[in-house]
């Protein structure tokens, strides 16, 4: 809808409005996309005056939508579904991280006496509160013929807790992501990598979410924002070293960790049928687990018009 000059990525400058639009984005410190877009002037180029607000977790950032402190947030399917179930927010894009490659970055570490999934029966499994991990366990165990009820799930507050607990033998298995962490977990004696998530049916998508108010007020701005994200992602892929420098400077993320994590951390803005399936499968799980109280129509919570303007070739859902 809307504006004359579109469909031309290279003509971005011509879409630049006279007045930059103000935008507050909820982010976490390990995500390179927004920071690169900001520090490399990509947002500016698309007429966006962005302020990045750092939260401890994506879930916290999404929560700040509720209290009207940010306009845009992102996160994994899980907290995103929780958010759209509650308020007037729409998913404007998927981050394209639901690939096998990035799923492979999620590793399952287990004590040495656990050599296959069926060994997990009666064991203590770590989950992080407020994340998709309970769902992942559920799917993984189901696929291996183990009932989730036969295991004990321990809710933890962070991966550092899981590390210590695994090292001390207080838990038997945990999922981990991120190069810095995987390196640490590899060093634990008596525990080993059992599998990774690419061998399960679960792919976690990430999504970008915005308030309906903002989408209605600035449809063109949203499109430009998505264009900027796409350009930033491309820059990140092309310049891993510089990205690592930027992240170290801004958030102190160790450089080697950034580079190794780019496979999972970098985005490929779009929205595919797979993205939709992932969302609806998790929604079903959340409904059955009582995390979402009232069912809702997922399609009504998608607003992909701007995305179709920005990267038409990468929206294959609903076509």
């Amino acid at each position: 809808t809307g504006c004359g000059s579109k469909n031309d990525d290279s003509a971005a400058a011509s879409t630049k409005p006279a007045d930059p639009i103000q935008l507050k984005i909820a982010d976490i410190s390990t995500n390179p996309v927004f920071r690169v877009a900001k520090t490399k002037g990509i947002f500016e180029k698309y007429g966006i005056d962005a302020e990045i607000v750092t939260f401890a977790t994506p879930a916290e950032g999404i929560n700040s939508l509720f209290i009207k402190q940010v306009d845009i947030a992102w996160g994994a399917d899980f907290p995103i579904l929780n958010a759209v179930s509650k308020g007037d927010y729409s998913i404007i894009a998927a981050t394209g991280t639901d690939t096998d490659q990035s799923a492979a970055q999620w590793k399952l570490y287990a004590q040495d006496d656990i050599q296959q999934a069926s060994d997990l029966k009666g064991k203590k499994l770590s989950t992080l509160r407020g994340t998709f991990l309970p769902y992942l366990w559920d799917e993984y165990l189901k696929a291996s013929g183990v009932s989730a009820a036969d295991t004990e799930q321990i809710g933890q507050g962070g991966f550092d807790e899981a590390y210590i607990a695994l090292k001390k033998g207080e838990i038997d298995a945990t999922w981990v992501v991120g190069a810095a962490l995987i390196e640490k977990f590899d060093g634990i004696e008596g525990a080993h990598e059992l599998t990774d998530m690419s061998k399960t049916t679960v792919r976690i998508g990430g999504d970008v979410i915005a308030t309906n108010d903002f989408i209605q007020k600035e449809p063109e701005g949203v499109a430009n924002f998505l264009r900027a994200l796409d350009e930033a992602s491309k820059f990140v892929s092309a310049n891993p070293d510089e990205t690592a420098d930027i992240l170290f400077k801004e958030t102190k993320q160790p450089k080697d960790a950034t580079i190794r994590d780019l496979a999972t951390n970098n985005w490929n803005i779009g929205f595919s049928q797979a993205s939709f399936d992932s969302l609806s499968k998790q929604k079903a799980y959340m409904l059955s687990a009582g995390i979402i109280k009232d069912d809702f129509d997922l399609t009504a919570k998608l607003n992909l018009d701007s995305l179709k303007q920005a990267v038409p070739d990468r929206v294959d859902y609903g076509q």
Binding site: A59, N63, F66, I67, P79, N82, A83, K86, G87, R129, G130, I154, G155, Q156, G157, D160, E161, I164, A165, K168, E170, I171, I291
Partner: protein, 267 residues
């Protein structure tokens, strides 16, 4: 501005309770107005909160959470006090140890308990122990510093008279220093009880599946503000009630040592 003249004027019971009831109605009103202004996702109203509480009460999870947190606070706080008192006594009575320990205490007591989460996980594991240890830590320095202050405030005349009546150093510790320091220890213990409720929030940020702190953190993740409010009100009530109970107990059992009921000005 009419100022009080501290007269011990007689007041009927009803007149005493009336302003308190009025206050609570006022607080509820302000709260409800806040809910209307900000909307229930941000500030759940009185009715929403009550519904949330009922929901949590129906499946018994609120009672369980309160029970679990209360147990953790009680154990951590008791253990902390039990450790702090003898240590405080020793630091107070033995000057070379005091010279060594005081600067260290004055440094470490500014490091928030929450900061020790990782370390405590390492030492005490993800079970009850690490949570209790965090509460214990939050209690420890307060009781220790108060005991120390009490020992240093002990009148030399008391020690001298005991000594000239033939009391040994050990007898002096047992029969003079400890009873004379009791009100200070008690103040410390009571202040620490308040701090324990602050620390439980941090303790239950760590691997926890239940407890009021867990309720609050977990509800935050799903933005169940009504449950957050239920958790907060539970904490306030638990704190208030145990503080009063401890004060009352102290007054009953330790009156001879000069412990008085007060509303605990310091925390």
């Amino acid at each position: 501005m009419k100022l009080s003249t501290k007269s011990s004027a007689y007041k009927p019971r009803a007149a005493k309770w009336f302003p308190i009831v009025l206050l609570w109605l006022l607080v509820l009103a302000v709260w409800q107005v806040g809910a209307w202004i900000y909307g229930p996702e941000v500030v759940p109203g009185v009715a929403e909160t009550w519904r949330g509480a009922k929901e949590l009460m129906e499946d018994g999870s609120l009672a369980k959470d309160i029970g679990v947190s209360f147990y953790r606070v009680l154990v951590g706080w008791s253990l902390g006090s039990l450790i702090a008192i003898p240590v405080g006594l020793i630091i107070g009575r033995v000057s070379p140890i005091r010279a060594i320990a005081e600067p260290f205490l004055n440094f470490i007591r500014f490091i928030p308990p929450i900061a020790f989460i990782t370390l405590f996980l390492v030492w005490f594991g993800i079970g009850e122990q690490s949570k209790i240890a965090l509460i214990l830590y939050a209690t420890l320095f307060i009781v220790m510093m108060n005991t120390l202050t009490g020992v240093l405030a002990l009148e030399e005349d008391k020690v001298r008279s005991a000594r000239s009546m033939g009391a040994s150093e050990w007898q002096i510790l047992l029969h003079v220093v400890i009873p004379a320091t009791t009100p200070y220890m008690f103040t410390g213990i009571r202040i620490a009880m308040g701090t324990s409720y602050m620390a439980i929030i941090g303790a239950e940020m760590m691997a926890a599946n239940e407890g009021v702190g867990f309720l609050i953190w977990n509800s935050r993740l799903f933005f169940r503000t009504d449950w957050i409010f239920v958790g907060l009100i539970s904490l306030g009530l638990m704190g208030f009630i145990t503080d009063r109970a401890v004060g009352w107990l102290g007054h009953k059992l330790l009156r001879r040592y000069g412990v008085v009921i007060s509303s605990g000005a310091r925390r």
